[in-house]
Symmetry: none
Subunit: 445 residues, 2 copies
């Protein structure tokens, strides 16, 4: 039997709600999208509950689900994903957090002095300045109590905090309050922590590191200079997204597919690396609305020649939503649609590939936030039974033939259409495979 | 309150995908089916996810789900089901495998000698020849290490291997590679086995039995004779579908329904017996496309007089699909439709019975395999709110009012339409019943 290859195209935050300034239409409805509509017409459509109805996903957990890994079970925390995305090696078992270099000011309250966040990104400090400051922290905080601490710079204000030692837990709250004018949070064990004692110990360590970072950075020469120049001082690190790094079975072992990822931004590369995909970058892509979508789709056509599964990530639709720019979002959608001609001509029409188009979550371009509405989904396979939906947008796919499915089931649905899915109950080898495999382990007589 | 009776009609593998040679229609769309369409028109339709979206079911696990038993929890393995179907008593706690008498040839590889499967059914050996060969094995392998081994012939190449003893597990891979020209697999403990040590021990025993069967059968007189006559030697047994036989709560206890099954083939009878249904055979039925569907439906009408629930299984649609004969499948569907007039006239029109029509899985008549697409479903009850769907086929029911439901929920849906479903939270007796029951356990004063 001829198995088929699979391409998954994720337009980040593309699905949306009814937008007043777009005559009550969604950006997908408002945009002119003949090519995306063509896919909806010849394929079958529906809605994809990324995590659970009504739950707004983060982009990292969302992609884990789209790759068929249950986030409740396999999500290692933002820190690990960002580290992998930046090609920073983090070992199995260590605790990793994402952190920002931020600007805080002191505020006296009855209990003592607290810290108020004035700029979460320290004026988007340059990577060079950030590196100096972080190196200073690293030298001073290298050995901290009985754990080993690594403070690793990434691009601009971004960094990774790694803590190595016994008895740690990722079940702790974020120091970063996620909003300016809020006070820096005390990191605390989550009340539902698997191991409360370890979480308590971890929270204490993180609080000490955060406090130390403030005392070490506030008088640092770089910050004196920045203040002189009218720039905000990068005088603290604010960790968030703590998680114990763990290995997962790679994509090839789980689904039997040799997989490639085309993405620009670290987070998406991180999730792809976490599940063991080969990661490709398109030089012309920017991760913004100015990106070159055509270049990405052309690379997908090429990569499908040597991979079984290609995942393409397009970011601009989400950025325009967070910036609350409906018309920019519409323009980005039309740009994707125009480039999508390549996918139609080179991948869909030859009729040998399973194609899925969706978003990792809906993002409201009125509210500027991720929302829990299930994004639109279109799936094409040469023998799929099409529904009557002829447009790719949130309203049209409400009547779609796929109905409302869970993102974590999408891989199984695509494997099924690719003629690779294995009949339940068969046990062809020691792995209880979900896909046909030619591997055998012969009986020797 | 007048409760209603229930009939479930399962046309095996009837749902399908778009078939090129049928002008891109599915066999159900292509066929002329006024009677099935009538049911869709007056009832409510939808899609039935048999196990999970995209997962191709085996017929045994599929029927368990249709009877409301979660396969992940209650599936005892193919061996136990087939044994029950053939009326071979298998006791609770024993290990049962299905096996085939097959034809293999030796092949030298670097590790030693392996066996290549040339015919998985040994030329569909006669039941008589098979019985001789299996009796010989039984005598020689009766006591094997510290377990008791039973090798039980069934029809033609089919048999059941039963192993009785302590510390056994069904979590082992199949010896049967499921394809000709593949090598006989070494039975291995599954990597996710509940009890790895027991699985390892079981795998070793099965490998020894398989090897012994080859050495005992290859020079057997019957095989010498077969070879002389140009027939393939039945020189090995290839077990698969191992499982520890376990008892489940019977259908009557779980759903409060006195249930009957009308089926021809052992597998379906086996699942029905496993859940404690009474099993009926129709002499005129054959389990093939030549079967007499009318006779089955007439018997269903009769049995509904004394049973609360009747399950009717029709096989031909699946056989035609596995044989990759789209037009034969269409013909079989039209034959079912024509016989379905009996169901309409005798069961639907009197308006006292809940009727469900579906498939246990979709089977692609282009690919010849079970696929994970959810089959079409139609449900009728006298007071059901009909949807707008007027045809019974995969495309039409995409707009069905039942949406996309799980097979394991079907029993609850049918109980509900039969006015037997119990309000959640009520506790009329010690069993947490899902159905109304007149049983009571009186307080004695």
């Amino acid at each position: 039997m001829d198995v088929r290859k699979i391409i998954l195209i994720v337009c980040d935050g593309m699905s949306d709600r009814a937008v007043k300034s777009l005559d009550g239409k969604t950006p997908l409805e408002y945009a002119h999208t003949p090519n995306l509509d063509k896919l909806a017409e010849i394929g079958c459509t529906g809605l994809l509950d990324i995590l659970s109805p009504g739950v707004p996903p983060g982009s990292d957990s969302a992609h884990l689900a789209l790759f068929g890994y249950e986030p409740e079970k396999y999500y290692p925390g933002r820190g690990a994903i960002e580290a992998l995305g930046a090609n920073i090696p983090v070992e199995d078992g260590v605790l990793a957090c994402r952190f920002n270099l931020s600007t805080v000011v002191e505020k006296k309250v009855s209990e003592g002095v607290t810290l108020i966040v004035k700029d979460r990104r320290a004026g988007r400090i340059s990577s060079e300045d950030a590196r100096y400051l972080i190196e200073c922290l690293q030298v001073k905080l290298n050995n901290f109590k009985d754990v080993k601490v690594k403070i690793i710079p990434n691009v601009e204000h971004r960094g990774i905090l790694v803590i190595e030692g016994e008895g740690l837990s990722g079940d702790v709250s974020d120091s970063d309050p996620h909003e300016v004018e809020s006070c820096v949070n005390r990191c605390e064990p989550l009340s539902n922590a698997d191991n409360f004692q370890a979480a308590e110990r971890t929270a204490n360590i993180i609080n000490e590191i955060v406090k130390s970072s403030y005392f070490l950075l506030k008088e640092h020469d770089i910050n004196r200079l920045r203040i002189k120049r009218g720039l905000p001082a990068a005088n603290i690190i604010l960790p968030r997204g703590a998680g114990l790094v763990k290995k997962v079975d790679p994509f090839f072992k789980v689904w039997g597919l040799k997989a490639a990822c085309i993405a620009k931004l670290a987070l998406y590369k991180g999730v792809a690396r976490y599940v063991g995909m080969d990661v490709y970058d398109v030089p012309e892509a920017t991760g913004t609305v100015n990106t070159n979508v055509e270049a990405k789709f052309k690379m997908a056509v090429e990569l499908l020649k040597k991979y079984d599964y290609v995942f393409v990530h397009v970011k601009g639709t989400d950025s325009a939503s967070h910036d609350r720019k409906p018309l920019e979002k519409v323009k980005m959608i039309e740009k994707i649609d125009s480039a999508f001609k390549i996918i139609l001509d080179e991948i869909v029409l030859p009729g040998k590939t399973v194609v899925a188009l969706t978003s990792d979550h809906s993002t409201s371009c009125e509210l500027g936030i991720h929302i829990g509405d299930p994004p639109a989904l279109a799936v094409y396979a040469p023998d799929i039974v099409p529904d009557d939906v002829k447009q790719f947008n949130e309203r049209a796919v409400l009547k779609g033939g796929l109905g409302r499915v869970k993102a974590v089931d999408l891989m199984k649905i695509l494997l099924n259409y690719s003629c690779r899915a294995m009949e339940y109950g068969l046990k062809p080898n020691r792995e209880t495979r979900l896909y046909r495999s030619t591997e055998c382990s012969p009986l020797v007589i």
